[in-house]
């Protein structure tokens, strides 16, 4: 009997961070979709899995009930674009009695560091904390604030090194009691962790408790191509995320061989010789059931059109397409299809807008839509002649795969991840060569056989992968079974 108990004690238990899912109130795409499908799979297949989330100030880990996560997953799976989400709001939880309010600690610490503001810091402390909270804060470091008086210079030096070496996350981890985490836990976190998680805190908790950690690497674009992201700040913050992901994780799943290679190159460039086990696990690509069934027509396109579904931002290379259509228009190419660009407006598109606004002819054949709902998108895919995806760099390229799921040929750029995502079946061109793109589009329009050949290839060779397949493979990997 005791043997059985011992064996049971050693069983590993999955504990999944669902902060991102619980915070999400829009259409679940990309990373959110991945996390959603994985949690959906776990809910259906493994009732032993535990779930948790970070609080708003990211200084407490709160267990999430099965019902709560099940409700949110159902909501997101049935989510219809353009509907307001009122289903789930993150509640402002009160300060846990077992956990110190890290937000207060940080704020007071910042104030206290400036000598002139110390009386203010003490006042804040007394005003904002209950006696109980104050007691807890004292356990960490706050008592230093309150007991401090003007000190001799030697004392100041001592204080100064204390201040410099002070790590809120270490202190917090030391006093924190997270009863749903044990050394047999395998913590899985694959959401928008740079925004919603606190990896340093998890790192020190892991040191204390000894659990395993499994993370995700979607792509390293903000680090490898900082010029293609909106701000330096994001790249810096993202590198910090990768740093902690690397040192925190036992295993990391990469969404493509390309992204795995990218991560290895980052490690090499930064002389990180010891890193977690990496495995490529391709994402699922089946579309939502309700998307497939939905055929509503809101915006009719009588003329043939080519479709590009992607956020409109610098990295996605819409400029190339505008130049291609401009060139074909000037050449008076017969039967030039319209170009339909569907996606939210992002950053770095001044040149796209300038070219578009200054060319009235172009406006007649290129259409930007940023208000297409999921149902209409299905219609748009189905009605398109073919699709394009000229992005400079991608971690995977779900958009191109989605096109193939609708049986539509996708003319892609030759970036590695897009070739990998489309299983090497789609025509690929350099993302900067306007002439080559123009020639290929002319060929597809004037020579239907060329397009049909690729469509035939999709029908014969394209292997769709279900999200359940992805989830099952990932769960195995997370458990350390592969």
């Amino acid at each position: 009997m005791s043997k059985i108990n011992n064996l049971k004690m050693e069983e590993k238990e999955l504990v999944v961070d669902v902060t991102t899912l619980l915070k999400w109130s829009r259409s679940p795409v990309g990373i959110i979709r991945t996390q959603l499908e994985f949690v959906h799979y776990l809910i259906a297949n493994d009732r032993t899995v535990k779930y948790f989330r970070f609080n708003e100030t990211k200084d407490a880990l709160l267990e999430v009930s099965f019902n709560e996560i099940q409700q949110q997953v159902t909501h997101l799976l049935n989510y219809k674009n353009k509907t307001a989400s009122s289903h789930h709001n993150i509640k402002n939880e009160s300060i846990s009695t077992s956990i110190i309010d890290f937000g207060i600690l940080k704020k007071v610490w910042r104030v206290y560091k400036n000598e002139g503001w110390r009386p203010l810091a003490i006042k804040i402390c007394k005003n904002i904390c209950t006696e109980k909270q104050l007691d807890m804060l004292k356990k960490v470091y706050i008592q230093l604030f309150l007991e401090s008086k003007s000190s001799p210079s030697k004392e100041n030096l001592k204080k100064s090194i204390e201040t410099i070496l002070f790590s809120p996350e270490i202190q917090l981890a030391n006093v924190m009691d997270v009863d749903f985490l044990t050394k047999n836990s395998i913590v899985i976190s694959i959401g928008l962790d740079w925004d919603y998680s606190n990896y340093p805190l998890l790192y020190w908790l892991k040191q204390k408790i000894g659990f395993e950690f499994v993370g995700a690497f979607y792509d390293g674009i903000p680090i490898v191509y900082p010029e293609l992201v909106q701000s330096d700040y994001f790249s810096k913050m993202f590198f910090s995320h990768i740093y902690y992901l690397t040192h925190l994780s036992d295993r990391i799943f990469c969404i493509s061989d390309y992204s795995k290679q990218q991560l290895k190159e980052i490690y090499k460039a930064h002389q990180i010789s010891k890193y977690p086990q990496l495995k490529t696990i391709h994402l699922g690509d089946s579309v939502f059931k309700n998307e497939v069934q939905a055929i509503s027509k809101k915006r009719g396109h009588k003329k043939d059109y080519v479709l590009y579904v992607s956020t409109i931002e610098a990295r996605k290379n819409h400029l190339l397409l505008l130049k291609v259509w401009q060139k074909l228009q000037k050449e008076q190419f017969h039967n030039l299809p319209d170009l339909v660009l569907v996606g939210m407006y992002g950053w770095g598109i001044d040149d796209v807008q300038e070219l578009y606004q200054n060319d009235n002819d172009l406006k007649k054949i290129i259409h930007f839509y940023d208000d297409v709902d999921d149902e209409e998108l299905v219609t748009m895919y189905k009605g398109s002649k073919f699709t394009v995806f000229p992005s400079f760099v991608e971690g995977w390229g779900l958009g191109a795969v989605e096109s193939m799921l609708y049986g539509k040929v996708c003319l892609i750029s030759n970036c590695d991840a897009l070739i990998e995502a489309t299983q090497g079946l789609m025509p690929a061109l350099p993302p900067t060569d306007v002439d080559l793109w123009a020639d290929m589009i002319k060929d597809f329009v004037s020579n239907p056989n060329a397009l049909d050949e690729y469509a035939q290839i999709i029908r014969q060779d394209f292997k769709s992968r279900s999200w359940a397949e992805f989830s099952s493979e990932f769960a195995e990997f997370a458990r350390g079974e592969t």
């Binding site: 030697k154 090194i161 040191q207 330096d232 010789s273």
Partner: protein, 400 residues
């Protein structure tokens, strides 16, 4: 009792950076050997600790107006030393003190002394000693090159420093150097006699309470210790040897940066490395100036001491301290100049290869060290204490 006059371009009332410490130790050595010593300086106004009686402060604008090239306030001091109130200050003090020996700590105030000698204001009987810290014209050239500072004005400065050094070498009764390499160079420049006095270190006492508190503050984290002054090559060398980022250091390992270099380290981070600055600056804890007690504890508890300087001459005070500490060291060959015996020491990695440098640090942080009990090695490490390293100075006494 011999009367010795030290001349420098910084006060030594509170010796913090390497140059100040060396000058201060030389003074202590002579005082311990029955000499009377007076230390005068023409210093930049940025020094907060000084003796108004012995230190004449020069305004920053005066210096920059004289030589409009970065990092050349010492050479500007040299040019300003021969006129105006600065010259009068030196002349008056030297006249009143009437030294037997003048010890020029670095070359910078030589023009003033030469003017006094040429004008008969100073007896030709006075023994003249050039107490060098490195080959100044070469060090300056490397420093300016490393900051991409060049042009005809730079050439003028470098030539000017070379002429000063050569002139002083030829006329000085002896030249004190930090390394044998420097000695060879000065001989080639016309030095009549050279004495090698490596930089050294004072014996430090560990205060157990300070160490205990340090361990509490560290919370189990291990650290590499980097001690340096706000001398640009310290910061430049650090980034050159530590890589594009410090992401290779796990969260439980940090670099503790002590001394003036703390204040300049971030500003010398290479442009391309700024993308990784959140991680790098999170790994580096800039401690700044610390008490002797704390420094002793920081050295004693370090998993490894870093000596990453890649340009500069002379011998490095920090190297002597690292050798004496017995703690593991990872150093560049430049940092070890003047301490050739370090190749015989255990737990001492010397390399100019960035990857090997990092590997060395990692090894000491993770794997720990081997205990040193070899008598010869202990002897070598003992040789870097000031009382040993400055023994050559007795020749100054014999000749005078």
């Amino acid at each position: 009792m011999k009367k010795i006059l030290q001349l420098s371009t910084y006060p030594i009332t509170q010796p913090l950076h390497g140059g100040q410490i060396r000058v201060s130790q030389i003074r202590k050595y002579f005082e311990a050997n029955n000499c009377q010593v007076k230390s005068l300086s023409l210093s930049e106004m940025s020094h907060s600790d000084y003796d108004p009686k012995d230190d004449f402060l020069l305004a920053a604008h005066e210096l920059s107006e004289r030589v409009d090239v970065h990092f050349c306030t010492d050479f500007a001091t040299s040019l300003l030393s021969t006129a105006g109130k600065a010259y009068e200050f030196l002349k008056k003090n030297i006249h009143n003190y009437s030294p037997d020996i003048i010890l020029l700590e670095q070359v910078w105030l030589w023009p003033a002394i030469k003017k006094l000698l040429d004008g008969g204001e100073l007896s030709k009987e006075v023994m003249l000693v050039y107490s060098s810290q490195n080959i100044e014209y070469k060090t300056k050239r490397l420093l300016l090159e490393s900051h991409d500072i060049n042009g005809t004005e730079v050439d003028t400065v470098i030539n000017g420093i070379y002429k000063l050094e050569k002139d002083l070498c030829e006329l000085a009764d002896m030249v004190i150097t930090c390394t044998s390499t420097d000695a060879d160079e000065f001989i080639a420049m016309g030095a009549k006699k050279t004495i090698i006095c490596n930089n050294g270190v004072e014996r430090r006492k560990i205060t157990p309470d300070v160490s205990v508190q340090l361990q509490l503050d560290l919370n189990g984290r291990k650290y590499a210790l980097f001690v340096g002054s706000a001398y640009p090559p310290n910061a430049l060398g650090f980034w050159e040897m530590m890589g594009d980022s410090l992401a290779w250091l796990p969260p439980e390992c940090i670099v503790l940066c002590v001394g003036g270099v703390s204040s300049i380290l971030e500003s010398y981070m290479p442009e391309f490395a700024k993308l990784y600055s959140y991680v790098s600056m999170d790994r580096i804890k800039k401690i700044g100036f610390v008490s002797e007690e704390l420094l002793a504890s920081l050295v004693d508890n370090a998993s490894v001491i870093l000596l990453p300087i890649t340009i500069g001459g002379g011998s490095n005070l920090k190297t002597a301290e690292a050798i004496a500490s017995g703690r593991p060291v990872v150093a560049t060959t430049t940092a070890c100049r003047g301490f050739d015996f370090v190749t015989k020491l255990n737990n001492f990695v010397v390399t100019d290869d960035q990857a090997v440098f990092i590997q060395g640090i990692r090894g000491f942080l993770y794997a720990g060290t081997q205990h040193i009990n070899d008598i010869e090695e202990i002897g070598l490490r003992e040789s870097v204490y000031w009382e040993e390293s400055l023994t050559g100075l007795k020749e100054v006494g014999l000749r005078s």
